[in-house]
C-alpha cells in the first residue's frame, strides 16, 4: 500500500502532495460520474434529458430552499463547500420541465466555482443560458437562483464565518 495508512492531510511534504493529488483525482472521477459540470447553455430538452440521465447527489439536509406555493413549485439545493469552493452541488425540485432545466443549468454554472463567484450568479444568467423558455416561465429561473443564494448564505466562506463570530 502506497500511503502506509498514514492519516490524510497530516503529513507535510510529499505525502501532503500525494493526498492532494488523490483528492483532485477523486473530484475528477466524481464530476465525471455525476456529469454535473457540462455546458450550462442549452435547450430545455437537452438540460432536462441530462438531468434525467445522470445520478443525483444528496447532502444529509438541503442547504437552501425556495418555493412558490401558488404554483406548487419547490427547489432544494444540496451543497458541499470546501476551501471556499463549491465541491458538490445538486438539487431536488418539482417535476416541471422548465424548472428542472434551470436547476440543471444552475448546477453546471456553479459546480467547482468559488463561493463568491457563485454568489454573483443570478436568474438573468439562467434565462440567458436556457434557450426557448417563454417569458411567463422565467419565474422558474428566479426560484432556482433564490434557492442557490439561500444555500450560499447559509454556508458562507470561512473568512465570512469568522467575521460573524
Amino acid at each position: 500500500m502506497l500511503r502506509e495508512n498514514k492519516p490524510r492531510h497530516q503529513a507535510p511534504g510529499q505525502d501532503g502532495r500525494f493526498n492532494a493529488l488523490v483528492d483532485q483525482l477523486a473530484q475528477t472521477i466524481y464530476h465525471f460520474h455525476m456529469n454535473c459540470c457540462g455546458d450550462p447553455a442549452g435547450s430545455v430538452t437537452e438540460l432536462f434529458n441530462a438531468a434525467l440521465g445522470r445520478p443525483h447527489w444528496r447532502a444529509p439536509a438541503a442547504a437552501g430552499k425556495a418555493e412558490d406555493p401558488a404554483q406548487h413549485l419547490r427547489v432544494e439545493i444540496h451543497l458541499e463547500i470546501e476551501d471556499s469552493r463549491i465541491r458538490r452541488i445538486d438539487y431536488l425540485c418539482t417535476t416541471c420541465a422548465s424548472l428542472i432545466a434551470y436547476c440543471e443549468a444552475l448546477v453546471r454554472m456553479s459546480c467547482g466555482r468559488g463561493v463568491a463567484e457563485a454568489a454573483r450568479l443570478g436568474a438573468g444568467d439562467l434565462i440567458r443560458l436556457v434557450r426557448g423558455v417563454p417569458a411567463y416561465r422565467h419565474d422558474r429561473a428566479h426560484l432556482a437562483a433564490a434557492a442557490l443564494q439561500q444555500a450560499l448564505q447559509r454556508n458562507p466562506p470561512p473568512t465570512q464565518r469568522s467575521q460573524h463570530k
Binding site: 432536462f48 404554483q71 416541471c96 420541465a97 422548465s98 432545466a101 426557448g132 417563454p134 411567463y136 416561465r137
Partner: protein, 112 residues
C-alpha cells in the same frame, strides 16, 4: 354542457377532427357545447405555432369565446416551439391545465 378537449393522438386528429368538425362548428356557433379549453400533445402542438393558418382561426375563436389553449410544455420544448406560439397560448402540464380550468371547470373531458 361545458367540455374540454385533449388532443392526445396525432395522425388525423387536429387537421380533421378539430379543423373540419370542432372549429367550423365553433365558428358557426353550432358546436352544441361550451368549450372550456383545449390541450395539445405531441405534434398537435405545431398547430399553436404563430403563422399556422388553422391555428390562427382557432386562436381567433378562442379569444372570442374565452377558450383556454395550452400546449404540453415538454412536447413544445422538445420541438423547440415553446417561445414561438401565438400570443395568449400557454404551455404547461397537468397541474397548469387543472389550475387554469378550475375557475370554470368542464363537465366532460374528451380525449381525441
Amino acid at each position: 354542457m361545458r367540455v374540454a378537449y385533449i388532443f392526445a393522438t396525432t395522425g388525423h386528429t387536429v387537421s380533421y377532427k378539430l379543423g373540419r368538425m370542432i372549429l367550423p362548428q365553433l365558428e358557426e356557433n353550432r358546436h352544441g357545447a361550451d368549450v372550456a379549453g383545449m390541450f395539445f400533445f405531441e405534434d398537435n402542438t405545431y398547430l399553436l405555432v404563430k403563422g399556422n393558418p388553422l391555428g390562427e382561426r382557432l386562436v381567433k375563436i378562442a379569444r372570442e369565446k374565452n377558450i383556454l389553449l395550452m400546449g404540453c410544455d415538454q412536447c413544445c420544448y422538445e420541438r423547440e416551439i415553446a417561445d414561438k406560439l401565438f400570443d395568449g397560448v400557454l404551455i404547461g402540464c397537468f397541474p397548469d391545465l387543472y389550475q387554469a380550468l378550475s375557475q370554470a371547470p368542464p363537465d366532460q373531458v374528451i380525449t381525441l
